[in-house]
Symmetry: C2
Subunit: 342 residues, 2 copies
DNA sequence: ATTTATAATGCAAGCGCTTACATTGATTGT
DNA sequence: ACAATCAATGTAAGCGCTTGCATTATAAAT
């Protein structure tokens, strides 16, 4: 197997020789600079920059059993939902010189398990996962390896695991209530796939629960499930609207779906919100760019990312008792929801 | 320094002992399974799964000087532009069991350099970078470390480096031409920041060049530069539209900017495309969700990602001569560009 | 059977770093 | 001036894996 690396890559030893110290001292300069005298440190730093030395990550990980790496596994990058959270997390972590490794599972539990193994084998010091819903084997593996982790994007007061999120059930209930406040009674829902996705599941339940408070149920007998892309949202919309009775409002499981639905509705020659109201969930940038702008629920992406960074940095030291954070969500009223025509 | 890892993590040696073979054989089972007899292999695999063994990444990297990792540094995740390309790249790579490490630079050359060092020190086998425009020190470092790399999102026939992209200059010219074909003469441009960003620079040049072919120049004396967010796009729009004379068409450096501009224009009570035409660049999903849908240039995100994966996997073996790929772009006609009112 | 070629396995030397422990040098109190 | 203390540095033993080379088992050829 050919190695492409030049064989002149400087090592700790080269630095040590040039600075006339032992490798231990160089190592200390890198890891706890306070413990070495200033004169020595300067000499070492000079040697490092002369040589263009970069520590070998593998060697460091092997020797210290730490990697300065935190992993996160998200369903997909191909959707802005998680991007902001990750961006915020990355910023917070790189201040502490920690690298964030991002992997994607494509909403598949098997692939998620694979990625968990991959990241653990890469020695991530801790891990962030989206949602609670996954096979027990995943939790067992994590525990057998003693890898601290935190669940994001959902919150449960009774969670045995650290989590940072918001109440999907409640937030979905809020927006459903708002829709009903506008006089809608014929309400449909287009949701993400619920299998292995507690957020999607809880949003549906939140909506159904709110409706039943008014003696209503979802049209079409329940939510239409759809993948999270514009096209799939549009397709789901077409399917829904070809049914016997059309809803006056569609609640969407997220904003991307809502954008797809709006496109579909428009293609049928209908106007939003005059002919039909549409609401989303997440309040990604897209929501405000639509025309009409989307009424939706703002979820605390950046806050979750920052909090996750903070928690993961200290997770190994913390007691698990106080590692659950629930953020607020907020209704964002824009133009895509209007009173039902009478 | 406390290690949080359980001390029972199984190692290669544990597997070897349990399967009654040497560590060398276990290693071979993992790396070139064909070279070990089936019976032995089965025994080893059994031991591996009994123990729940996962290879230690650091040790492997250290011993083999390979990591099975490819890095990519993009300006930001907080924008769908690169997401699709990365997603495609990730898919192609994980088929080969290669991990993609994604880092972000925030459009800052210094931060990019930092990330390059970080990724190289993590032992990436090769690297993908966006655009050519960066300090020479970065190229020097990469070459001193013999890390193969490929430039994405841009193409230059005379590039000394492997690259996979498209002709930003030409594509921008095409859409400018189209705008002029619709009778527009008062054309403005809102572009991304050009410093250290060759794509933005070339798009501006492409537009200016096309305009000058008709004896025109950009209004406001040149492009308005703006950060790549909806809000910043909207702000740039406001600035532009408060000038003495309003354009009849605005060419935007990318779709996000265009969406921001559309929002701004609408806020001023103007209609797109009746009062003003807007065109974008990239054809991200967002573009088709806008109302009116955005006329823009489709760039080959997924293709670039796939091609990059393929090239990076073979880069160390290839001759650099045939490692330049130029993809086509395509005008996408939608509703945001219309004939100028006479 | 015996030799010869070949496939399968084992042996053991590192890869570049960290860190417990030993050593040396500087500082303080008496 | 000398012991006691503490800070700074050095010594060297691994961390868990890969891999060149040596060794042994197996197959093929005589």
């Amino acid at each position: 197997m050919p190695k492409h690396n030049a064989d002149n890559v400087p090592t700790l030893e080269d630095v040590a020789r040039r600075a006339n110290v032992s490798t231990a001292t160089v190592s200390r300069c890198l890891n706890k600079p306070d413990s070495v005298r200033e004169g020595t440190r300067l000499r070492v730093e000079q040697a490092i920059s002369d040589l263009g030395y970069t520590p070998n990550f593998g060697a460091r990980a092997l020797a210290s059993n730490r990697t300065g790496t935190i992993g996160i596994i998200i369903p997909t990058m191909d959707n802005a939902i998680f991007a902001q959270g990750i961006q915020a997390m990355e910023e917070a972590l790189s201040e502490q010189n920690i690298t964030l490794l991002v992997a994607t599972s494509g909403y598949s539990p098997e692939r998620e398990m694979l990625k968990i193994r991959a990241l653990v084998s890469r020695g991530v010091d801790s891990l962030a996962l989206i949602g609670f819903d996954r096979p027990d084997t995943a939790y067992k593996f994590l525990s057998s390896r003693s890898v601290p982790f935190v669940i994001l994007w959902n919150y449960s007061a009774s969670s045995p695991y650290p989590c940072i999120g918001f109440d999907n059930h409640r937030a979905a209930g809020m927006i459903a209530q708002r829709v009903m406040d506008f006089g809608h009674r014929d309400i449909a829902m287009i949701a993400g796939r619920r299998a292995g996705n507690d957020r999607a599941t809880q949003r549906v339940k939140g909506v159904e629960n709110a409706l039943s408070g008014q003696g209503l149920t979802l049209m079409a007998g329940g939510p239409i499930e759809s993948g999270y892309s514009l096209d799939e949202g549009e397709a789901a919309c077409m399917k829904l609207m070809s049914g016997p009775k059309r809803p006056t409002a569609i609640i969407c499981g997220n904003d991307v779906l809502a954008a797809g639905v709006m496109r579909g509705v428009r293609q049928m020659g209908l106007e939003v919100p005059e002919d039909i109201s549409i609401v989303g969930f997440d309040d990604i940038d897209l929501a405000s760019a639509l025309n009409p702008a989307l009424t939706t629920v703002r979820t605390p992406h950046r806050l979750m990312g920052q909090a996750a960074a903070k928690m993961l940095l200290s997770l190994s030291e913390l007691d698990k008792a106080d590692t659950r954070l629930c953020f607020d969500t907020k209704l964002v009223n824009r133009g895509s929801l209007a009173s039902v025509k009478t």
